[in-house]
């Protein structure tokens, strides 16, 4: 082992965290960050497939201009469900609560997070919020879109709105507590010698994400409470009929929801920054720049919310400032992409599934980022905002980027989490299928948006049909590609080959522990003396 630590850890005697207690209560009352990560993983997988089923219905309906099977009201409810479930019950928690939870203590050389009980509480709050939100969405009839724009939501939506909004409010506490737990853990529980600049980039990006979770989520909570108060008691805040200001709602909503975009993408960038060096056998190029670009994104990300409102009626001077800042926030993202590419240069690259997902991430994120520049350009935004161009853009970031990164992480750390190897050929096949299915689904939507098809349309003019058919065809491939890992990963759980402690020959403290790790992670607290990604340079 040439990597980060000088401590050669023997495989600990006794059982792993997976076998340390087999009763249901040993899982539901666990304080082990690794088990809580598994609990999260199972919950968000359920939510992912519920949100995905809604997406499938949307794409099915849009095959024909008049709508294949849903009436307008049902369609509106379905896309609301898709948005709410995917944003708050999958994307925001996805990588932080699963891999953040599982890996952070391992990467830091710690036994657990700083507050293990609060960690478990976060999961219970999360599940509770999921149940409330789904009860409101499926049982009630909320058709406002995930953005709850005013005065549509408080003045015209059904009573279930309050249930859904309440569920998201509860969800916020889970987010805040998770963020708090991570920040304290990174500050306080680093192993001896593990200075900030020896932290893996995944820790930096989790840190940046956590800060956003703590600072932005309370604003969402306040906003949603005001929506509920207006809906229930007619308190005039956002609805002009009660003396309110609908633009105020949009300012408050996007003050959370734009930083939330970075909550969704920063962890993915962290994952890719781990995987690219591991499969190129080379230190990450420009470590300091990649690390600080996460922090820069987190900070500047708080100052760009107004770019969602260029045509909403905000002043043109505000629009000029928000457009400028939106270009600025793209700079650190560009820095990351160039550094990942430079890491490949003179590497010794192999192409297992995690690397394929990571390379897919870089390409799709680059397309998503570049089309973000289109949208930051004021005059261009005026034509394509609120059209399918925007839908395509954020799906390139959220699905092409974040979901690819999630799958990359799932495969990369699968041996560590489960102690089993996944079937490589199937995994490569799924990775390639996802890449092509994704592009076929979402690239036509750029063209649709440019042609002028507005989003959230249950029916549409016939000239848009051909691109919608392409998109729906892609979605069927994508759906198959997303279901595939469910099968081969489940198979691997029972039949997969046993994994060694460090199957990829990667650096990072998590690979120094056994696969799967023991409950306490390390027998002795490791001591860190080397920089991260300390892959040896081959002889010239």
């Amino acid at each position: 082992m040439t990597a980060t630590t000088i401590v050669e850890l023997p495989r600990p005697r006794g059982d792993s965290y997976l076998t340390d207690g087999t009763t249901l209560s040993s899982w539901l009352l666990t304080h082990d960050h690794k088990r809580i990560a598994i609990l999260y993983c199972l919950s968000i997988t359920v939510f992912f497939f519920i949100g995905g089923a809604a997406a499938a219905l949307i794409r099915l309906n849009l095959i024909t201009p008049r709508g294949l099977l849903l009436d307008a009201e049902t369609y509106n409810r379905i896309f609301t469900l898709h948005g709410v479930v995917m944003v708050w019950l999958f994307l925001v928690p996805s990588i932080p609560t699963t891999f953040g939870n599982f890996l952070l203590p391992l990467m830091l050389g710690a036994k657990d997070l700083a507050f293990p009980r609060i960690n478990l509480l976060s999961w219970y709050l999360f599940v509770l919020s999921g149940v409330i939100v789904l009860a409101g969405l499926i049982g009630g009839s909320v058709d406002t879109g995930w953005t709850f724009y005013e005065p549509l939501s408080s003045g015209y939506a059904s009573g279930a709105l309050v249930v859904v909004v309440g569920g998201i409010f509860v969800n916020g506490f889970s987010s805040i507590l998770t963020g708090l737990n991570f920040v304290v853990t990174i500050h306080r529980l680093r192993a001896p010698g593990l200075t900030w600049y020896r932290l893996p980039i995944f820790c930096w990006s989790t840190y940046a994400t956590s800060v956003i979770l703590m600072l932005a989520t309370p604003v969402l909570a306040v906003t949603l409470l005001l929506v509920a108060a207006e809906h229930l008691w007619g308190v005039g805040v956002f609805d002009p009929a009660h003396g309110g200001d609908p633009l105020l709602f949009q300012h408050m909503f996007w003050f959370y929801s734009h930083p939330a975009v970075y909550i969704m993408i920063l962890p993915g960038m962290g994952v890719v920054s781990e995987i690219v060096p591991a499969f190129a056998r080379k230190p990450l190029f420009g470590y300091h720049f990649v690390a600080w670009s996460s922090v820069a994104i987190a900070v500047i990300g708080f100052l760009v919310w107004g770019h969602h409102m260029f045509v909403a009626g905000e002043s043109i001077y505000a629009a000029l400032v928000f457009s400028f800042l939106s270009f600025i926030v793209a700079v650190p993202s560009a820095i990351k992409v160039f550094n990942w590419l430079a890491t490949l240069h003179k590497g010794s690259i192999s192409f297992e599934a995690p690397m394929l997902y990571a390379l897919g991430f870089i390409l799709l994120f680059t397309i998503g980022g570049l089309t973000g520049l289109f949208l930051a350009t004021l005059a261009f935004d005026e034509h394509v905002t609120a059209t399918y161009f925007v839908v395509a853009h954020f799906h390139y970031i959220m699905v092409g980027g974040m979901v690819s990164a999630y799958f990359a992480a799932l495969h990369y750390w699968w041996p560590k989490v489960t102690g089993r190897l996944y079937p490589e050929s199937w995994a490569r096949f799924a990775a390639i299928l996802i890449f092509f299915g994704f592009n076929l689904t979402f690239f036509p939507q750029f063209i649709l948006g440019y042609l002028g098809m507005p989003r959230r349309y249950a029916t549409y003019p016939p000239e848009f049909q051909v691109w919608n058919v392409f998109s729906s065809a892609g979605a069927s491939i994508l759906a198959a590609a997303y279901v595939l890992p469910l099968f081969y990963l489940t198979w691997s759980l029972f039949r997969g080959e046993r994994a060694p402690g460090n199957p990829w020959g990667a650096t990072g403290l998590e690979w120094q522990s056994a696969s799967p790790p023991p409950t306490d992670n390390f027998e002795r607290t490791p001591r860190v003396t080397r920089p991260p990604y300390d892959y040896p340079e081959p002889a010239a």
Binding site: A72, F285, V311, F338, L370, T377, P454, V466
Partner: protein
Amino acid sequence: MNAALPFLPPSASTIAGEFNILFAGLLAITCAVLGLVVVLMFRFCAHYRRNNEAADRGHQTEKSWHWEVGWTAASFVVFLGLYAWGANIYLREHHPPPDAQDIYVVGKQWMWKIEHPGGQREIDALHVALNRPVRLVMTSQDVIHGFFVPAFRLKQDVLPGRYVTLWFDPDRPGRYALYCSQFCGTAHAEMGGEVTVMAPGDFQQWLAANASDATLSGDGAVLFHKTGCDGCHGAGARVAAPKLAGLYGGPVALRDGGSAIADEDFIRGAILEPAEHQAAGYEPVMPSFAGQLDEEQVVALVAYIKSLGSAPQ
């Protein structure tokens, strides 16, 4: 858009031409950057694949800061250029020429109501003359709607409780789709219509054929009397109320010490929420007409007050 695989929307306004050049520029830069990323990625991946023993992997770049500064600066400069280009067009999109014709738009679930100054009314349709700049003064009666004409490359959210404006100079005759771009409830997708750009002669004929009994400001004048506005603001009124002739477009000193420009939104606000639009030097005695007038009636009143003359420029 009749092609089997449509790629480009029709262009029918002066701004659309500039927009198309901007789009070409953005597309060129994007393709260049994406091409660079793809080429580098595939080249590195092919050449430095693990089983390529022949690849020279020595002398890895140690000092990376000049690369970092290089691509950071390059990104920044390109972004700055795009920003300025887009902002320049955007600013012109938001400064209508003084001779633009005002047309009033009221959005409601789920239709667009259009009122021409001559009193012509349309629903889900807008007729305009070729090469004659038009300024839309828009409001909503319920939720937020979005007025979107792809052929003009323009879009504006239409809010309840205030007026927003949108202007364009149509430069190509034809019929173009009008959509609602802001989700507004169940029949959002059905809320749309058509903008027809006509040769000036044809447009005059259309106006004549669709003329109503009174012009919009004429309707407003009747309403001005019926609602009792002229009791205070009329010529022979004894109450000390602000004179409305020559008010439009000029500055108004406010009772709270501030000042405002008497545009359509101000006049609308002064009718519906007089307490918050109180002119300096007058007693705050005007009652609110909120709830008594619908948005179309307010539009008629605003058009009437504008017809009394603008402030000298």
